[in-house]
Amino acid sequence: MNILVLIKQVPDTEAKIVVSGGKVQEAGIKWIISPYDEIALEEAIRIKEKTGGTVTAISVGDDLVQQSIRTAYAMGADHGIHIKHDQYQMLDAFAIASAIAKAIEGRDFQVVLAGRQGSDSDNGQVPLILGTLKGWGVVSFAKKVEIDSQKATVHVEAEGGEAIYESTLPVIITANAGLNEPRYPSLKGIMASKKKPIEVINFADLGLGTVSRIEILGFEPPPPRPQGRFIDGADPAAKAKELARALREEIKVI
């Protein structure tokens, strides 16, 4: 079973995001594999460990994303493909899915795993568009996955219960939280991963041209929170009255 895992590199969930000049300032940000993608990767490695085959991690971005591909190696991925694009932040989901579809042409994958959404943009579109481009089925939000040589059985949380989908292969499956707990990359794995080559494909060489349908105009930070106001005074009743007045007349919530 050959499995492809889509990996997005995102800022660490605790990183402080600074937006200025219409851009996210990347200095000082620690980059990690998006947590849902890490779950997808773990699932792929578990399937491989059970049934054999290979796990290939693919990521679109500048040279930094090679770090995440190395982490995927350290966890147990066999191959890594880096689709190189230095201005990848300006690509939309359609462009990224198109690049991946093109890059895997002629390669034999029966299962594609990806996180349900990236933890930075929360778009969740790339796996769906990839499915459409390739004509493969997509099952989203998997919480349990079983694969045999013919089909995939995917359990998904549904309103008040559980939905079970069966799909022919190839299939694209997106991982929900709770599907598994990803392993930690081990020292020995990291040491071995350093020697592994990463296949680099230039985005421009894929012959897609200007493929983005959506133009990102810019990023803006959320407005700062207004300062809190203290109601002073010694008399609790007067303070309560003032609070009620402010809520009714100034903020107009009561």
Partner: protein, 443 residues
């Protein structure tokens, strides 16, 4: 109600109602306590002054409680009056530029970090209970925790204190500056005093910048002998943040009681959690060296904030999972780090001779030699006399040049042992106590 307590701004609980507040009368030690006549939720320093005056006048014992997360019974009620500072939890001032914060003693420890995180600052003392412990209690016990190696104990964070002494004076211990060489350091007397000199009401604390990038690694070791050389190797990185360890018995109990999964595909004798303020590439060379000299068998990396939190859960949940369904004798001791391996080896060798079935479980802070020794007792062993076990442990601690209490304080648990092993020190401690608490209301 007694006259002075009636003037208190905060709440005073008395009579039958006290039974609803049982949790305020003891810490986590399981040691005995006496239900007080009054429980006071102080709202201000002046409330505390009134309580002290009341206790002096009526000759009542006064116990001060913070988050009650201690393990030595220092906060347990002794009848009389219990005063809680949990309502005194305000931030009074925040000097962002100087990274100094002025707080009331009842503020929850972790809340200080939450409040200062927006400025890129944090309060550096961190341990399993800082989500519910209060800063006043931390100061009164000179709390240590997992970052002592990098930032020192609570003592290193306190710039100045406001205290109501056992005689009712309001004492400001000095200026809120890092350097203060004005004779005897009064604040240092109150830090670690376990509420026996006075009641800490306010504190100026230093804050530190939030570390830029932390790498957390869990190492697997096959023998005790590797602990010290690994610690030495890890310390060569100046940016070492934490160096913690636990043994296989802890790991097994964690997996069973805390539903944490096994981390490696086989068992190892010891697990060492190391955290550096560094990039993972810098740490890599240290670990590769450790692997090549067979100090470690393997290591796991937690590079993301989420993974780091997950890995820390193993260390943080040890204490509670040991107590879960077991009778445990706990010892919080310090050993000079370079003698730690020998000390543990001796304990393991000697244990069977004294108590053939003694189930010893070890974890703690490898970096500073603070070991938490735990003896799990099953039904048969309940008969073991606590006193003789204490003596056996403490004699070996003293022989190794260690301290009877690393971070839990003397409390009720160790005061008599301290007096036995360090009679002269104990005598001077008592002298100082009688200056600040001449009527003995706090002791």
């Amino acid at each position: 109600m007694a006259h002075l307590l009636a003037q208190i701004e905060g709440a005073v609980i008395t009579g039958q109602e006290l039974y609803d507040y049982e949790a305020y009368f003891h810490d986590k030690s399981g040691l005995s306590y006496t239900i007080p006549e009054y429980l006071v939720f102080a709202h201000s320093r002046s409330d505390i002054e009134k309580v002290v005056e009341f206790c002096m006048e009526k000759k009542k014992k006064l116990s001060v409680v913070g988050g009650r997360t201690g393990y030595s019974g220092a906060a347990n009620a002794r009848g009389g009056v219990v005063v809680s500072l949990e309502k005194m939890n305000r931030v009074l001032d925040f000097f962002k530029e100087d990274a100094i914060i002025h707080v009331e003693a009842g503020i929850i420890t972790d809340a200080i970090t939450e409040l200062s995180a927006g400025e890129g600052l944090m309060y550096p003392v961190k341990f399993a209970a800082t989500g519910s412990s209060q800063i006043g209690g931390n100061i009164a016990t000179n709390a240590g925790g997992v970052h002592v190696l990098r930032y020192g104990t609570t003592r290193a964070q306190v710039l100045s204190l406001e205290v109501v002494t056992g005689r009712g004076d309001v004492l400001n211990t000095g200026s809120a500056v890092l350097k203060d060489a004005s004779g005897l350091s009064l604040k240092d007397l109150f830090i670690g005093s376990e509420g026996r000199l006075g009641i800490i009401t306010r504190a100026y604390l230093r804050l530190v910048p939030i570390p830029r990038s932390l790498v957390c690694v869990l190492c697997a070791l096959s023998c005790l002998a590797a602990l010290a050389p690994l610690a030495k190797l890890a310390r060569q990185k100046a940016s070492l943040h934490a160096l913690e360890f636990w043994d296989l018995a802890c790991q097994k109990i964690l997996e069973k009681k805390s539903s944490l999964r096994p981390l490696f595909n086989r068992d190892f004798a010891y697990y060492v959690l190391i955290e550096w303020e560094a990039e993972s590439q810098e740490v890599q060379s240290v670990l590769e060296e450790a692997l090549s000299c067979s100090l470690i068998e393997d290591a796991l990396y937690a590079e993301t904030a989420l993974a780091r939190k997950e890995l820390w859960k193993y260390r943080e949940r040890i204490s509670e999972s040991l107590s879960h369904g077991n009778k445990v004798f706990k010892y919080d001791i310090s050993i000079p780090p370079f003698r730690l391996s020998d000390f543990l080896r001796n304990l393991q060798r000697n244990a069977p001779e004294i108590y053939p079935t003694l189930n010893m479980v070890v974890f703690g802070h490898l970096g500073d030699g603070n070991v938490h020794l735990n003896f799990l007792l099953d039904e048969k062993e309940k008969a073991i006399e606590h006193n003789s076990l204490d003596l056996w442990v403490y004699e070996q601690v003293i022989a190794a040049g260690g301290s009877l209490s690393a971070e839990h304080g003397l409390g009720q648990l160790k005061r008599s042992w301290y007096a036995k092993f360090f009679p002269q020190n104990f005598h001077f401690q008592q002298q100082v106590e009688s200056i600040f608490d001449p009527h003995g209301i706090l002791r």
